[in-house]
């Protein structure tokens, strides 16, 4: 089955990104397809490669990047939510005159249309947030 997931909370502030991750791992293990993971609101903070948690803690951002690499996951960050919170890819950095970018590997910045498409294309859309 084709599943889409939406994450609305940041890492380390709420359990939502952990629950979403564990759900996706279980879905992949059961042979389902993850059509897209859409990060909205504070959820965009899952996509900064500058995150450096203590070594004995889970690295939520790297965990997403590694899962994306292993399963070719489409991790999409909402552009408007990302701009507000300082999540920037090279194109957005250039466009807005920023001196650097911080998007983590496996993530891409796009718009709400990607969420709508996921809702249409996937068999189920699951929302994780506060």
């Amino acid at each position: 089955m084709k599943l889409a997931v939406m994450v609305n909370e940041g890492p380390y502030t709420h359990q939502a990104s952990d629950t979403a991750y564990n759900f996706i791992v279980a879905a992949l293990a059961a042979g389902h397809e993850i059509f897209r993971v859409f990060f909205y609101h504070d959820g965009v903070n899952n996509g900064t490669r500058l995150s450096t948690p203590p070594q004995d803690d889970r690295h939520i951002v790297n965990r997403w990047s590694e899962l994306s690499k292993a399963h070719d996951l489409d991790l999409v960050v909402c552009v408007a939510a990302a701009q507000r919170r300082g999540i920037v890819d090279p194109d957005e950095a250039k466009r807005n005159g920023k001196d650097s970018d911080n998007i983590a590997p496996g993530f891409r910045i796009s718009g709400l249309g990607q969420l709508i498409e996921a809702g249409i294309q996937a068999d189920r859309l699951l929302v994780f947030g506060d």
Partner: protein, 100 residues
Amino acid sequence: MLHTVNKSSFESASLKICLGLAKSGSDILLIEDGVYGALAGTIHATMLAEATSAVSVYALGPDLKARGLPEDRLISGIKVVGYDGFVELACANDKVQSWL
């Protein structure tokens, strides 16, 4: 429909509202702090115990464990599932409603 409730019934009315609106035959999965609602003997236990005749209620095992809630203290009729069970419930129902 699968309803997921992630708030403790001591913190939010989402479980109560969910139970009030869920159609007979629905599945309700308690996740994150929502698992506190599965405890027997609390002031909210009757509400959920009465609902189990019309809807199927599940609690996410890893979230119970993370909060130190033993499975033998749950309201009878509540089934404990893992993330694999969460995936199965999401696929078995045609829609998933998150009560955030």
